[in-house]
Symmetry: C2
Subunit: 161 residues, 2 copies
DNA sequence: CATAACCTTTGAGTTAAGTTGAGGGTCAAG
DNA sequence: CTTGACCCTCAACTTAACTCAAAGGTTATG
């Protein structure tokens, strides 16, 4: 099968398939005399597998390290270990998310619970000091940088003059 | 205070502080006749606030949209709304993580539950077809691409020859 | 006056996972 | 022999949030 058909079958773009090959993720590819790539039917399976693993949170690097050259000869131990580690990673992230969520919910409550007898600025100071004093260690000591979300991607202004 | 001291106090690098200014996130900055930046004491507060918001999952773009020019004059409604939306985002991500985790745990179980009377290759086929057939929609329809983790950042091989 | 410790700008590099475009070859049909 | 649908490579671009290096100005101290 040529790349166009593989792309249709797998739902991935041709450029993405070529890209996977270029980083050594896809080795199931031969060339015809004219230079065209030719794939065996199981290539679609491999691509599905890659896409599935990605959705589970594996990076392409991790996937490459785990994908065997032969689909029926997995590195059993390493695979199981990687899966377990990924579960642990997810649990760590879940804990961080839960923490962030608690903070945010508490913050909303704090803002809305403004006593009627203080003004806006005073409330701002009150909330601000609570936010910065509480639940967050010194920013200097921050260890992990995980990008969690970011749907609303407003592009930032051009920087050069 | 000059930038070096602000950096020490806030725990952020000088380059990061200049970067924040360059993208319009930090407006509390004056210049001395010699060109040096000078910050008022509350600049440290603003930086702490930015770092805290980042840890809660806000992008710099989002933070910029919410940070008021005056620390005591917040855009009340927009702020509350953004906080609530972020909580909802976190909940969506939590749901996806829980789903991924269930899949992974089930996969580990599936692999380890290999009946003693089939060989490795057959087990591979069995597990493989279960993984790809089950719980995951067609990859072509995949909607969301969220990078979850990625601690083990092995750099990929150089591509150009 | 030299030296060190500050500060400045600008431009380029980093990571991940691709996409896009230019420029060109291949192949079947009309 | 041309048109259109394929395919090829290679380089550059994308996003976010920075970092780093180069080249140079400023200030305090010996």
């Amino acid at each position: 099968m040529k790349i166009g058909e593989l792309a249709r079958r797998s739902g991935l773009s041709q450029s993405r398939i070529r890209f996977y090959e270029s980083i050594g993720l896809l080795n199931t590819v031969e060339r015809r005399p004219n230079g065209y790539r030719t794939y065996p039917p199981e290539a679609a399976l491999v691509l599905d597998l890659i896409a599935t693993a990605q959705k589970a949170g594996f990076s392409l690097d991790e996937i490459r390290a785990l994908l065997p050259p032969d689909l029926e000869r997995w590195e059993h131990g390493a695979l199981i270990e990687a899966l377990r580690r990924k579960v642990a990673d997810i649990e760590a992230l879940e804990a961080r998310l839960a923490h962030s969520k608690r903070q945010l919910v508490a913050l909303v409550a704090e803002i809305e619970a403004r006593p009627d007898d203080i003004d806006c600025a005073a409330n701002a100071r009150r909330v601000l000091s609570r936010v910065l004093g509480d639940g967050v260690e010194s920013p200097a000591l921050a260890t992990g940088d995980v990008r969690l979300l970011g749907k609303t991607g407003r592009r930032r202004a051009v920087r050069a003059g």
